[in-house]
Symmetry: D2
Subunit: 135 residues, 4 copies
C-alpha cells in the first residue's frame, strides 16, 4: 500500500478531517476486500456444491461493489462531504460484516472463504476505526 500513502502525502490539500494513517489503512483494506470478494464469488461458482453457496456469492458480489466504491471515494481529498463519507463507511462496514458472517460458515470446507472472511473482517475493522476518528 505504499502507493496509497505516497498519493496522500503528495496531495496539495493537507487537511480533510480524516486521520491520514487510518485513512490509508482503510483505503488499502477496501481494495483488498473488493478483490478478494470478487475472487471468492468466482471460486464459489466453480465449486461442486455451488447450490449451497448462492447466498455467499451474492454477498461477495455486493461487498465487492461497495468496498470498491468506498475505496475510491476515500481516495479523494478535495472538497467537503463528510456526511456522505460517514454514511458510506457505515454501509461498507455492514456489508463486510454480513459477508464475513456468511463466509465463515464455509471456511472449514473452502479455504477461499476463509481467506475472504479474514479480508472482510479487516475491512470491517478499518471502517470502524476510521469512523471513530470522524466522530
Amino acid at each position: 500500500m505504499s502507493h496509497i500513502t505516497s498519493m496522500l502525502e503528495t496531495h496539495p490539500n493537507d487537511t480533510s478531517g480524516l486521520d491520514v494513517q487510518k485513512l490509508a489503512d482503510c483505503i488499502a483494506a477496501c481494495f483488498e476486500c473488493a478483490q478478494t470478494c470478487t475472487a471468492c464469488a468466482d471460486a464459489c461458482l466453480a465449486e461442486d456444491m455451488v447450490t449451497d453457496l448462492r447466498n455467499c456469492i451474492r454477498l461477495n458480489l455486493d461487498c465487492a461493489d461497495i468496498c470498491q466504491a468506498t475505496g475510491t471515494v476515500l481516495s479523494r481529498r478535495t472538497g467537503q462531504n463528510l456526511t456522505t463519507v460517514k454514511a458510506l463507511l457505515e454501509a461498507c462496514r455492514t456489508a463486510c460484516q454480513e459477508c464475513a458472517d456468511e463466509c465463515e460458515k464455509h471456511a472449514d470446507m473452502h479455504e477461499h472463504c476463509k481467506v475472504c472472511a479474514d479480508a472482510c473482517r479487516r475491512c470491517e475493522q478499518a471502517c470502524a476505526d476510521l469512523l471513530a476518528t470522524i466522530g
Copy 2:
C-alpha cells in the same frame, strides 16, 4: 427502463422483501444519476471557472460511484442481505442530497448542473421511497 422491469419479472425468485415497482424505479434512478454525475463532473472540469467548481466535481464523482454501486446491488435478488441494502440506500440518499445541494448553487449559471441536480433529487427520492417500503 423496460429492460430493468423485464429482468425483475423473469428472475426465478419472486420475493426479496422489496416492492418491485419501487425497486425498478430506484434502479433506474441510480443508473441515470451515475451517468449524469459522471458527465457533470466532466462538464464542470471544462468550464472556464473550474476553480469555483472543485467541490462540485468531487461530489459528482463520489455520487456517481455510490449510485453505480447501489444500482448494481439492487439489481440482484438472490440471497438475503437487507441490512446491507438499507445501509447502502441511506448512503446513496445522502450522497444524492449533498450533490444536489451543491449543483443547485450553480444551476443558474451552468445548465449541466441544473440537469444533474434534478437527477440527484429524483434518485434521493427513489432511495427514500424504497427505504420506506423496507421498514
Copy 3:
C-alpha cells in the same frame, strides 16, 4: 436516455471527434447492457440448473464490468484520448458478442437470458457503429 442527450448538449465542449447521436446511443446501450448482465448473472445463479450456467454467469459479470467502464468513459468529453476510447470500444464489442453468444444458447429455456442476449446485441452494434465514425 434523455438525460444522456441533455448532458451532451449542455457540455461546454462541442467537439470530441465523435458523432453525438451515435455517442448518446452507445452510452445508453452500455448502461442498459451493464444493468441487464448484472441481473442475468444473478437470475442464472438462482436457477435450479446453475451448474450448467457457470460460464454464462462469468461472461455476464465480465460484460457488466466492461460495459460499465465503457459507458462511463464515453460520458466524458474533456481532453483527448481517442486511442484509448477505440481500444475500449473494441473490448466492449468483443465482450458483448461473447456474452450474447452464450446467453443465446439458453434463451429458449430462460427468458432472462433472451432479454440479456438482446441487450448485448444492441450494445455490440452500438459499439460497432460508434467505432465506424471514429475511423
Copy 4:
C-alpha cells in the same frame, strides 16, 4: 498482494490458459493503478494550475475505470472468455500508456503525477507481459 495469490491458489479451477504469477502481478498492478489514478485526478483538481491539468484529470479518470474493470475481470477464473480478456488487456495497456505519457509531462512539477506515471508504466508492462503469455 498476498491476498491475490492466496485467492488464485485456493480456486477450485487450476487452469485458465493464463500464467498464474503473471496473472497475479497484473491484477495487483491494475488495482494499484486504479487507486493511484483516482487519487492523481483528485490531486490535480486541487492544484492552483488546474486549468493546465484538465487533460491529465480526464486521462486519470478513464485509466482508473479501465484498470478497475481489468483487475476485476482478471480476478475470475471460472469459464472461458480469453478473446474478451485479450481485448480488455489491450485497452488497459493503451489507457495506461496514454495516461503515463500525460502524467510524465507534469512529473517535474507535481510529485503525484510522478508517482502516478510510475504506477501506469508498471501496469502497462504487466498487461503486456500477461498478453505475451496468451499468444
